[in-house]
Symmetry: D2
Subunit: 141 residues, 4 copies
């Protein structure tokens, strides 16, 4: 396993990824087995122009990336997602704060989870994924 | 249940949703219990600038929307997603062709699935979700 | 919402359910938004007679019931499972200790999760489900 | 990949597994990328003695095994389940008929799905799992 990366190193990695940049993602805190990230709202996220709610696909993408970056904070880099589950708890608007956690770090597979909150602190979505942490896994931006 | 909508009506609905428009989504075929849609690639979808692969979050969003529009083709309109599972089968590039199908249409919950293919016809991602089809469910764009 | 039940009331409810009795389930602790249960091994659980590992289907059943009883500890009774995700972390043997937690208690849907540990304290499986907590939901044993 | 097994070989493998035997599982048909199995009801399956419904944990176990045996019909033997999703469509009673299908056979992971029907032909549960088909994967009964 590589040295654990710094917040700056993870943010530099996010910046090189076009979609992660488009999501305005930034790592704000790294803790033991957990990471905190923010995602900055943009008008293209909206599912319904009248209500202004964020599309569930954006929330799903956030769960995927944030859980993966909880792994990156341990493993040195994000790894390929094998599969993902997302639960939608309530309609979301605006900037999001996200927390990613390791459920179980394995040599071949890792289960990680993420929680997505709105500015008021309400939990809008959460979920977990299986990530492929085997040594030959190719790096993903 | 409302009258079943036409391809034009579903495309008009997609066009009103900022994120669905950004995904360049279009309905191309409606069949009994199934729908076919296309999604037009854009450079912001890329996860890794060197390789040019599409981000898993985009594929997850496509699974969510396309399964929901399989319901819309029956139910008259898309309905809220309760939860979603996505399996990532292979790296994706370029425009995508998507097929959505009803697994089981229920009065309160509906299970629907979607398959996402690249231009060569390779299956890149697939998944299923639970959608809330109860009468009081608020419409979602 | 009903009065929150006691450990004895939840165990009496488990005892009335043939499959839950067969799993030798017992509630051992109720905490705010969490529950602890035990499941007593039986030889029919084994997937592979040579190795003695417990079948993944048993672990899936434990995740389902224990997450549901985290809801029962709040809601008064278990409610129908809409869907379930289970991650298998390592081969399991013997009696299991399980922890169920609420992820988000909703008026119509509740997301709850469960963790299944072996006697050594190793996490063998975990997962989460969507449960139907709407008022007209019929009781489930 | 091993030679594809016969119905008799798969049933002999099921018979050696205590839990699969307890589920009264039998393979009844093998098709290209699909398998049909039956599961014989037993009174311990019941979740609620008054109503006689089968416990969701049994349905989850059936989805797991039947999807895995769709792989076994191709791959020679069942392989470890990485994770599982199950959707519960309606209350189930009595003997079940199950269909397993490959969604995508991969060198490292395979996605397979299963459908569980009651004697009237109603779909009671369905789901999909990620299975570990990499060469070094240890056999599972």
């Amino acid at each position: 396993m590589a040295d654990t990366p710094s917040i700056e190193q993870l943010n530099a990695r996010l910046a090189k990824s076009p979609f992660n940049s488009w999501l305005n993602l930034a790592v704000t805190k790294i803790e033991e087995d957990a990471i905190e990230m923010t995602a900055g709202w943009r008008e293209e996220w909206v599912v319904n122009a009248e209500r202004g709610y964020t599309h569930g696909g954006i929330l799903a993408a956030l769960v995927d990336v944030v859980a993966d970056y909880a792994i990156a904070a341990k493993h040195g880099m994000p790894v390929p997602t094998v599969d993902l589950r997302v639960d939608f708890h309530r309609a979301a608007k605006g900037d999001m704060r996200c927390v990613g956690k390791l459920v179980r770090l394995g040599s071949q597979f890792t289960t990680a989870e993420a929680y997505v909150y709105d500015a008021s602190g309400a939990l809008c979505a959460s979920g977990r994924g299986t990530y492929f942490t085997a040594p030959p896994a190719p790096p993903k931006a």
